[in-house]
Amino acid sequence: MVSVDAWIGLNLEELPLIKRGAESEIRRGRFLGVDAVYKIRVRKPYMHPRLAESLARARTKREAKIIAAARRGGVSAPALLAVFPSLAVLIMEYVEGRLLKDEVDRLGGGLRPVINKAGETLGRLHRLGIVHGDPTTSNYILSRGVPVLIDYGLSEFSESIEDRAVDLHLFRRAASSTHASIADSLYKWYVEGYLSEMGLEGERVVNRAEEVRLRGRYVRERKKTVWG
């Protein structure tokens, strides 16, 4: 197997680490003359090697396909530069800016249009038949005023109302855990933007998201077992 280092002529370990996430290492470097980030998927050491390997490979491949499709469809997403599935490496353009999560408190009156726009971006993605899988304020980079949706590591091709609703639900729940005091406004603004892109179809998704929220928390009757 050829190593990505040999392939592109540099040692990934030497690239400065921007972030070590739960999913991957993000390193910064250059690729074909462009400012780039290298997303190197972690093989989870707590999983059986076969499970870890197949997840890393499948997720890398899927993420590449999805980023390409999203960009083609006009979603504010980083451009994909190269992909190496068997090595679990993606190379993307570097997006200048700061995480939306860290900007929420500083935006003041400018917050609403940004959150609207973030919701609109999710709507655009959904209209392309893609669900994001983790659209939280940690996964938007505010770049020159535009919220760029990043990290398609958990994204899937899906047009189901349920999957779309889970996206909205995830935003809402992350907002209530990370920005508890203004979570309701954030969700309201996000939905406004989402609906502006999705129209009537979006209403059904918003309603379903409410169902998802209720269902996830003890609301659906479950068979109890001896473990309580």
Binding site: Y46, T178, R217, Y218, T225
Partner: protein, 346 residues
């Protein structure tokens, strides 16, 4: 028996949400746990039958309270408050605990402290591990939830979108004909069966954002069995896939919150494989990992008493006539004004 400090707070806690009627007595002075009495309903076949459980609880409740007071060497007069788990759980079972607690409070003029069962599992984990501000994975028969404290409450970061982890294991074991009994000498039937198994293809790994889903694992596992796969391989893989997915969503919460402490609590917390995966994940995230004291992992009265004690000291009480059970009481509906204080931890 040494005389007790004058300012000592002693709480008697009652647990009756599912299969265990528990009475615990906890003091805010060493040795803290003064009594831990449990009466567990065991099914002869199948799962839990709420009415039968309630009937059994009604029979054992009185003697369990007596025994707890007796083993603590206390009279009810010396108890500062009665704590009771009012939900979430099965209605008929909850009603027994609530009735007993209300009666004790009214008859002896004791303050009554409402306790959320899920909060109690987290609090007893913090208390027994000394981890003051952890990310907690709460896994039990009816619950699979990743929570952490943010702004007054435990917030849900991830959970199962369908059945709970314990439910997955129990249901599979039952359908595969290897249970009940579900637990034999501390090991679940699925764990015993997985010995010598190998990883096989065909069981879906489902993580959506920060949530997991187990119903597909259950269906696929039973289908594999039907098609002639070896039982031990199915047990091995089912466990591998299910545990890996809950650990992965916990890891996402750790990464998201940046917290450096991780705990595991609930009825499935004693599981060895799950613990080793949690340990490996925590070290990957540079976090400290400690599971709840194994003696306090399953449902018990001590966790209700210790949570009740913390709540009582913060002034959380309820009028007995307003102490209604709440079968679907969510963990993120409960304010935790005492956080991160716990008796003995400060």
């Amino acid at each position: 028996m040494p005389s007790r400090p004058r300012d000592e707070t002693i709480v008697l806690g009652i647990e009756s949400t599912a299969h265990t009627f528990g009475v615990g007595i906890v003091s805010d002075n060493p040795p803290y746990i003064l009594a831990d009495v449990r009466r567990k309903w065991e099914p002869r076949s199948g799962g839990i039958l709420p009415r039968e459980v309630a009937e059994y609880f009604s029979k054992v409740a009185g003697e369990a309270v007596e025994e707890a007071l007796g083993s603590a060497g206390l009279s009810i007069k010396e108890i500062s408050a009665i704590a009771v788990s009012l939900g979430p759980g099965m209605g008929p079972a909850l009603r027994v605990g609530a009735t007993v607690a209300r009666a004790l409070a009214l008859k002896h003029g004791k303050p009554l402290v409402p306790v959320n069962h899920a909060v109690a599992h987290i609090e007893v984990a913090r208390w027994s591990t000394g981890l003051r501000d952890p990310v907690a994975l709460y896994v039990a028969g009816g619950n699979t939830t990743v929570v952490s404290f943010v702004d007054r409450r435990y917030r849900v970061f991830g959970e199962t979108l369908d059945i709970a982890l314990g439910n997955l294991l129990d249901t599979f074991a039952r359908e595969a004909g290897i249970a009940p009994p579900y637990i034999v000498s501390g090991q679940h039937a699925v764990d015993v069966c997985a010995e010598g198994g190998e990883f096989i293809e065909g069981i879906p790994y489902v993580v959506k954002g920060q949530d997991v889903s187990f119903s597909g694992i259950l269906t696929a596992s039973l289908k594999l069995l039907k098609r002639g796969a070896r039982l031990r391989d199915v047990c091995y893989t089912l466990r591998e896939v299910a545990f890996s997915s809950v650990v992965e969503v916990t890891e996402r919460c750790v990464a998201h919150t940046g917290k450096k402490q991780v705990t595991l609590t609930g009825g499935v917390a004693a599981n060895k494989l799950l613990n080793s995966k949690m340990e490996a994940m925590a070290s990957l995230q540079d976090a400290v990992y400690k599971p709840v004291d194994v003696r306090l992992s399953g449902d018990n009265g001590v966790m209700i008493a210790v949570t009740g004690l913390a709540a009582f000291r913060s002034g959380v009480t309820v009028e007995p006539e307003k102490a209604f059970i709440r079968q679907k009481w969510r963990i993120d509906e409960v304010d935790i004004p005492w956080y991160p204080w716990m008796p003995g931890l400060g």
